[in-house]
Subunit: 164 residues, 2 copies
């Protein structure tokens, strides 16, 4: 901790430090998804359904192609997930009024309930981590994550940030 200025400012860029960061991402992401995964198992849904539900909740009325660009999967892949959610009455899909080719997606009450359950669990873990680490650490956490994104993803992320 007590090092020269040069050492202090470069230490965090050694291969060893970078590797620790890589492993931290790996293990932390497992924790990050663990609780929702547990809730979803046995409900016939998976992570893909969670992601769709999250971003529909986040941007009610979003279109399919909008969702496609956020999730970064093919429409066939998304459609499979979306279809089951619509069939099961968690998501409502309605034709656009200005452009009737588009489908605007909303969560139903039932969808809202599942979204709540999932995000409560995920936020609880995040809250515990934030509380343990403190506000300064949280700011750093967000800074590094943001810098790690591809520019296109960062655009999506920031667009969502404003919207909320």
């Amino acid at each position: 901790m007590a090092e020269t200025q040069g050492g202090e400012s470069l230490l965090f860029l050694t291969d060893e430090q970078l590797r620790k960061g890589i492993e931290a991402m790996f293990f932390a992401y497992r924790g990050f998804t663990a609780d929702p995964d547990r809730i979803l198992e046995g409900k016939d849904y998976g992570r893909a359904h969670h992601r769709a539900i999250h971003f529909i909740h986040r941007s009610p009325g979003t279109t399919v192609s909008n969702l496609l660009s956020i999730l970064g999967v093919t429409k066939q892949s998304l459609n499979r997930v979306l279809r089951t959610l619509i069939e099961d009455g968690l998501v409502r899909s309605e034709k656009g009024k200005v452009d009737a080719r588009e489908r605007h997606l909303h969560l139903t009450d039932k969808g809202q309930m599942l979204e709540r359950e999932l995000s409560d669990a995920q936020r609880a873990r995040m809250r515990a981590a934030y509380r343990a680490a403190g506000p300064a650490a949280v700011a750093g956490f967000r800074q590094v994550l943001e810098a790690m994104m591809d520019p296109e993803m960062r655009r999506q992320y920031n667009r969502l940030k404003e919207g909320g």
Copy 2:
């Protein structure tokens, strides 16, 4: 930034802030895996091979069951990956001398080369993010990630940290 003590210390725990953290994790993890994924596509390997290679490199001579507990998958799943890596001459598996039931895993020179290529790419992104965010942010980043892990994963993570 200039807020009351109470406001400042609690702002980072609002649902809105937590949701931003959740989305940051989602988008950042995509960036995190993007470069190795790109390298591996067309080489007949995937993320699962990358993970195996990473941790064998990290702990040369590790056993199969050791790797199983780090990766958190079934032996059938790991074995499928390991078999192809051994067949292709990237990984060497040798009977334990003290306990001959165990298989000790090492990267061959060829395996080292691929490991290098993958980790160079991943470290480059991590280095850029670290540099952009600065040392204080990096410390916070690691703190929050560590707090986000399940206790068992944190144990694995810390064991690896010491070892290096």
